[in-house]
Symmetry: D2
Subunit: 277 residues, 4 copies
């Protein structure tokens, strides 16, 4: 069982020496170590993988003793993360995640899927993953979100993944899950924020389209970006061809972002991410 150590704090002289010295003094073995200093912000980030070590709390206490008082320190075993997926009608991201869940290749366990339409229920049942239908129709956003929250309260999860969930969540909802909601947006943000990005891309006549996975904050499509990808298009692409091509990278971008998160390879600071791939 691997041990993951995540440290984030104000930068200072000798942090790497202190961390690696402490680990070394405990007789633990550093399998890999990545660190980064954001010199413009004076911020230090580190991720270590240790080989098996019996007592995590000894590592954590030791690190807290050598690091600045306000350092964020996490020491944990590398276990699959539990996620809840929110979906609407499009199946492509959900399908891919169900497959990765089924074969346990994503470091992720899907606790359940919640759809505001019923269309994807059948697919979930094929993988024995619980699906719940909570319609948004004929009710206020407030009521809809209350029903969502009620359903979510029955599950323990690390992250909520908006896997092509086409409703905009209220700031109040988002505030309950800070840096716990991941979204896939079908454009290379900040281009084409909001609805129908492929239509916007078509109208603008771009020669590239893209997809962006990001943390959800209360500003629509403006949260910290985890990963992005783009592919070329040309004048022969109508909106539907852009949609078809774009789906391929949406799948790939969301899968990559989830892998990075589930392997504890990402940090957030300000409105940006540090990603140790």
């Amino acid at each position: 069982m691997k041990i993951i150590v995540l440290v984030q704090c104000k930068d200072d002289v000798g942090l790497v020496a202190k961390i690696s010295g402490l680990i070394s003094s405990l007789g633990a073995n550093i399998v890999s170590m990545r660190e980064y200093v954001d010199t413009t912000q004076g911020r230090f980030f580190a991720r270590l993988e240790l080989s098996a070590f019996s007592d995590l709390s000894v590592v954590e206490t030791g690190l807290r003793n050598v690091l600045p008082r306000d350092a964020s320190v996490q020491v944990k075993t590398a276990l699959p993360k539990r996620v809840v997926l929110l979906v609407t009608k499009e199946h492509h991201c959900l399908s891919d995640l169900l497959i990765r869940h089924h074969f346990q290749t994503a470091g992720m366990k899907i606790e359940c899927v919640i759809g505001n339409h019923e269309s994807l229920k059948e697919l979930c049942s094929r993988f024995d993953v619980p699906f719940f239908h909570i319609s948004h129709e004929e009710k206020s956003k407030d009521v809809f979100e209350k029903e969502l929250l009620e359903k979510l309260s029955h599950f323990t999860f690390d992250f909520i993944v908006l896997a092509k969930f086409m409703r905009i969540l209220s700031p109040a909802f988002v505030a309950r899950f800070p840096m716990k909601i991941i979204n896939i947006h079908h454009s290379f943000l900040p281009a084409f924020v909001g609805a129908n990005p492929y239509r916007q891309a078509f109208d603008r006549g771009v020669k590239l389209i893209g997809a962006t996975a990001h943390w959800v904050t209360d500003s629509l499509d403006e949260g910290p970006i985890l990963t992005q990808q783009s592919i070329p298009v040309d004048h022969t692409f109508g909106v539907s061809e852009m949609v078809r091509s774009g789906k391929e990278i949406e799948v790939s971008v969301l899968a990559k972002a989830l892998r990075l998160i589930c392997e504890d390879r990402t940090f957030v600071y300000g409105n940006k991410t540090v990603v140790f791939e």
Copy 2:
């Protein structure tokens, strides 16, 4: 000598048959033919390369006879295009174009370079390309552009290329050269319109940066896009690393756009381009 034929008109049944039938009946040889119908706009575009044929006007008249009355028809020999470059201080795009000009690999002849700073004069002199310094300092935009126009009036050219020219041209200036001014913008438009796109990209925390070559219209950075490219960045990229990486694709995007234009491979319709690569 190759002959290039460009046709753009309202779509109709049998246009390809009419065009290829006419060329065939004249005994000319079609080396390559590309056509495209924008079905949403009902618009037909075609580009043909013919092997040597003595009388271009026979081809043009013949085509006008078989095509709709309002068709745009151009028949021309494939000659290098004459361009004027406008620059400021950054050398990377200019250097690349001077090399391509010097070795005649771009289908393009640089008539002269005009800089609003004097920094790039020395480089131009190394390639025996005339450089003129027209400062924008201590004068109104109106006066500056009058001086530009005066200088331009001494040259015959097909296109003006803004090769990292950091002044915004007035709508009145642009209106004199419709679809004759090409710009390289250092972002994947429509993201990061306007000044300092790399600073904007850094602040937003994107994981991709890009470059866009486009026709200049009177709306800043909103003209028809010719070509775009993007490259990955990560959290270790400060603004200066983005600038350095971005320059590599600015060079490549502008060179490609110019090649496409100089080889008569692009059409404009509405605010979009059709590009037969």
Copy 3:
């Protein structure tokens, strides 16, 4: 229902005029047309999409009348292609194709899956796709292939897809299905032919890995290439990281190749393909 027309023949003057003239004279509407002349080989290729037309044989007869005697002419309605998949133990390509089959997004219907191991049976059953286990163990290749052929004889199919099938088929087997067997090879051919390409790539210290979809001929990994893709790797990639990253593009390359084939967008001539994307 769309009509697809495929023409391949010796190049000649006026072929486009003849084809488009004939279609036009029948009152059929050309939705799109792509043609290509391989000037080094003097070979002409064309693909047309026509909007609905009642009598396919009229189009075919008409075309045969205006084209060279030895022209290959196919006129067909755009229907899903029937495929049989051969697999071993790896699930990633199969999973992706089952999803595309299930949601009918690939222009392809999977008739059955045959595995030389039983591992993927469970997955197929989740999508109600018949799976047959034909072990290669403790029997000669000849016997194994006889059993394969017997099983195949119960199905009608357009193509056999080797979706990570890790047995090498004999030339005799391949000869029964000329240009009907598609393989995905996990390298950018012609680099790393044969077994364990990721191990070979690791040993060579490459900075790119790739995947190739190709038609199977009797020379191992040397058939006409349909599509290829590559992704960057670095010194931190061991063999297992290359395998994991590589799988993502194997999936994407095979899916793309199948889409191109199922949409009748590919031709073979000599040992090369012409692909109208």
Copy 4:
């Protein structure tokens, strides 16, 4: 002035702690640190950038004291590297390097250019870079290389760059400059070793072409790879179109490899490189 520290040695427990502890104890400031352990080979690599520190030998001695006896330790100021370029007739890589040299954007100073043809002399003179013509014609390889060596003996240089030098150097010549000769090969090695890779690529019908920068060892095109890139091609690419497209990435791959080397970001171990981008 930045200080660069490069360490390579057998892996051991606590190396990062020892290195960072030593630097810290000297009061030097680590601007950035990258380290990597090749666990399959048990090999440790580290690169540090320190801010200005007066006495390099103190750092070096200190490191040698805390590191294993056989560690390779280099401590140096970040100065431009001196290079000699060998060329034949093609100008594209040379042009790009001359520009980067001229504007000092590559961390590299070109001491001179030696050509086995005279074609590129004129270009070098435009940048005031000495060019020497040493013809290979009508003489044995042995004599040719003796003349090369004699010319090289007049210059002090860190690296020899084969910037499209189309002669194969003998093992004896290469042995004099171990890991000091960089080559750009116009394919994604190990595909298409040897002469005319674009012709080979065309004949094979690949859908990707590439370029590779590598250290030259006595086995042709088999030295440690520094960086590689690929771009898509299709059936419309003849050999000359592949050459034209390929040149763009040859330029880019060689420039990147040189930047990595000149910034001391690469290590060699066995037949592989570790590259800290």
